[in-house]
């Protein structure tokens, strides 16, 4: 019976990774260099990314009475509260723009960011049934949940157009320049989301941390107030928060208020790049343990 164990090697060993012979060759091994991010895998799995976004969008407002109206109600109601509290009661200055418009323009990227951050932080744990049973680059999951927020964003953008018409504010010539800032907001959310989603696998504390994080972060971002209120000497430090740059950028592009200096914007961009690269590396390093730990 032992002879069964000693089957001689009768087939040839695929020599190296690469397009040798039939199809592609996958190498499975214990450790990989930390810098191997395998971002090309993401491209291979782009259809899955698309399907996951589609699933979340489609399911998002299922079995709600108001449906997609929620996408509009959320920023509108927040705007209403802020206008009453900070605009009417506290009388915060709003850079010569009607306060509701001023705050709504900031809420657009902010709500996208807050949503994307929350969803991506919980995304891996929320999709654990997939992670345990199927292989795909795990990066697909947090990226998909960040992208889902864009649908709500597009809807609330339409409301902004309506509001601008109501207040008689002509769109600035720079309108389309909000797009790079949108990208910056998405990348910030993804960078932080990567860290938090990977941490969440091991430390479920993250779930409780995220609501506080977004709340504090909002106060550190000029959503309800104007960044001109921040004293000059704190500006540099303040710019470390990329979302401050994003919100100012949105107001600059859409409402034509005074922008911020290029220097401060570059600080924001560098901060985002660092967070994102750090997040990617950490995520990749933890990725192989996800299925065992989740």
């Amino acid at each position: 019976m032992n002879s069964a164990l000693e089957t001689e090697i009768s087939c040839e060993i695929p020599a190296s990774e690469g397009p040798a012979g039939a199809g592609h060759v996958t190498v499975i091994q214990a450790s990989e260099p930390w810098f191997a991010l395998h971002l090309r895998d993401l491209w291979t799995y782009r259809e899955l990314l698309g399907f996951l976004v589609w699933r979340d969008v489609k399911v998002r407002y299922k079995q709600t009475a108001l449906g997609a109206a929620w996408a509009l109600l959320q920023p509108l109601l927040t705007m209403l509260v802020f206008t009453l509290l900070f605009g009417r009661l506290a009388k915060l200055p709003s850079d010569n723009v009607p306060y509701p418009l001023f705050v709504y323009t900031a809420l657009l990227p902010w709500q996208l960011f807050a949503f994307a951050l929350t969803e991506s932080s919980n995304s891996l744990v929320g999709n654990q049934h997939l992670i345990r049973k199927v292989y795909f680059p795990r990066l697909v999951v947090p990226i998909a949940s960040v992208l889902v927020g864009l649908v709500d964003f597009a809807l609330s953008l339409l409301v902004l157009a309506g509001m601008m018409a109501y207040y008689g504010v002509r769109p600035a010539a720079t309108t389309l320049l909000f797009i790079p800032f949108l990208l910056l907001a998405v990348l910030t959310a993804l960078g932080v989301g990567l860290w938090l989603s990977a941490l969440n696998i091991q430390y479920r504390d993250v779930k409780y941390v995220v609501p506080f994080l977004t709340q504090f972060w909002m106060f550190a971002t000029p959503v309800a107030y104007s960044s001109s209120l921040v004293p000059e000497k704190w500006r540099q430090l303040y710019s470390l928060n990329p979302m401050a740059g994003v919100v100012d950028g949105f107001r600059w592009a859409l409402l034509g208020s005074s922008g911020r200096s290029g220097a401060m914007l570059s600080i924001s961009i560098v901060a985002v790049v660092l967070v994102l690269l750090g997040g990617l590396t950490y995520f990749k390093r933890m990725e192989k343990h996800f299925a065992d730990l989740v």
Partner: protein, 416 residues
């Protein structure tokens, strides 16, 4: 030399088990980090509450292109871990494997089904999760629908499906996955008997298309008919590999089976719990003799009213061939009544003068028709017994001593 589809060298996988294995809270990690210098100064060694468990140990194997490999082993032998390593869900602790060709894995049917989405949407979603491209899904869409037999409910959310429909749809999508290497774990246990047969047939045709298949199942009959070669795992190590029949033989004679004629425990799900099984001889002496009538008893605790309870036993030979299958209500022609909660005891009788002397196993098949399998995949409640030929037929030429004798029946049928 033909080319390898899979070549694995010394794959090992370690898990930490014990309290808190896996995840700890942030507080614990932080306290541990801060108290480490203190503990170090006090001379305390880092004491771990967890211990290492090797799910796989130095597993090396090679699979040729087109091989259909059955992976056998008792529960906890490392079969599923091995499949998880090959499907890249988990990384090995050490070792290396090379796969050539597109890999698809089915460790579960219906992975990623979303209850709120319609059957149609779920075909696309699930197909994509399993690794099919949109074009492939579109190409197979009609076949999938036809195979699953849910045409009329294609646009109904799957949360409104019956369990049977859900499983059929899930399997149908999975069955149309066509990678070069396919890894399948125990997914054939879906649906009713007719659908299972259909699934097996589908698997068989997949296997015959020259695809490389790794197949884990407790269903020895399925393995022996589908697979050409086998690998036997025990406690994470490969203890045999080669032609499927020899591996099956080794599997059934491997340690782990000991004669057990009585089982008590608690297994099952929230529909019913299996409490006790036994086999006893009804002969006056109570000996396990070929002439004695044998009684196989099953005691269940029914927790919810069950419509369509399936309660049956399988009689398996020493080599795990299924010899007989009986259901408690085989004799009835109509649909069985609802079984109320409470205790349910059934005794199956295997008449004397049927089986030859030898070793036999009884396994259970308990489930709800079309809905779920309660017991049947695992060894829970299974019994092992040996029959001796003390007074019975053919006593003058005892069966085990006859060369080449392979019959399992030695009945006292009339000779005229």
């Amino acid at each position: 030399m033909s080319s390898c589809a899979i070549l694995a060298e010394n794959i090992s996988k370690r898990y930490q088990i014990g309290e808190n294995a896996g995840y700890e809270t942030l507080r614990e990690s932080i306290t541990r980090a801060f108290t480490r210098p203190v503990r170090w100064m006090k001379g305390e060694r880092e004491r771990s509450k967890t211990r290492a468990f090797w799910a796989l140990r130095n597993v090396s194997l090679e699979v040729k292109q087109g091989d259909v490999v059955g992976i056998l082993g008792r529960n906890g032998a490392g079969k599923s871990t091995l499949l998880k390593v090959f499907s890249r869900i988990t990384t090995p602790t050490s070792g290396r494997a090379v796969l050539r060709g597109r890999m698809g894995s089915l460790l579960e049917v219906g992975t990623g089904f979303h209850p709120e989405l319609s059957g149609r949407d779920n075909i696309y979603l699930n197909g994509s999760i399993l690794g099919m491209s949109k074009a492939e899904i579109r190409k197979h869409f009609d076949e999938i629908v036809a195979f699953s037999e849910i045409e009329d409910f294609l646009d109904t959310p799957v949360k409104n499906y019956s369990s049977g429909m859900y499983m059929r749809l899930a399997f149908a999508v999975a069955a149309h996955l066509d990678p070069e290497i396919l890894v399948v774990d125990e997914v054939l246990a879906v649906g009713d008997a007719r659908f299972q047969k259909k699934c097996l047939k589908k698997m068989d045709s997949v296997a015959k298309q020259g695809r490389t298949v790794l197949f884990v199942s407790h269903n020895i009959a399925a393995i022996s008919s589908l697979c050409t070669t086998g690998v036997l795992l025990q406690k994470g190590e490969v203890i045999a590999s080669g032609p499927i029949q020899s591996v099956i033989q080794k599997y059934s004679s491997s340690a782990g089976i000991s004669s057990s004629t009585h089982w008590t425990g608690d297994a099952g799900d929230n529909n019913a719990r299996l409490k006790e099984t036994w086999i006893r001889s009804l002969s006056p002496e109570g000996s396990f003799d070929t002439t004695a009538d044998l009684e196989v008893g099953v005691r269940l605790q029914i927790l919810k009213p069950i419509e369509g309870l399936i309660l049956g036993i399988r009689l398996l030979s020493q080599y795990e061939y299924e010899l007989a299958y009986m259901l408690q209500d085989d004799a009835e022609s109509s649909v069985p009544p609802v079984v109320p909660p409470g205790e349910l005891v059934r005794r199956f009788i295997i008449p004397g003068n049927t089986l030859a002397a030898g070793t036999y196993r009884i396994t259970l098949d308990i489930g709800i028709h079309f809905v779920t399998l309660i017991i049947g995949q695992s060894d829970e409640g299974s019994l092992l017994f040996e029959l001796e030929n003390l007074y019975g037929v053919g006593r003058r030429f005892p069966v085990p001593m006859m060369r080449g004798y392979t019959s399992l029946f030695r009945p006292a049928w009339p000779v005229l």
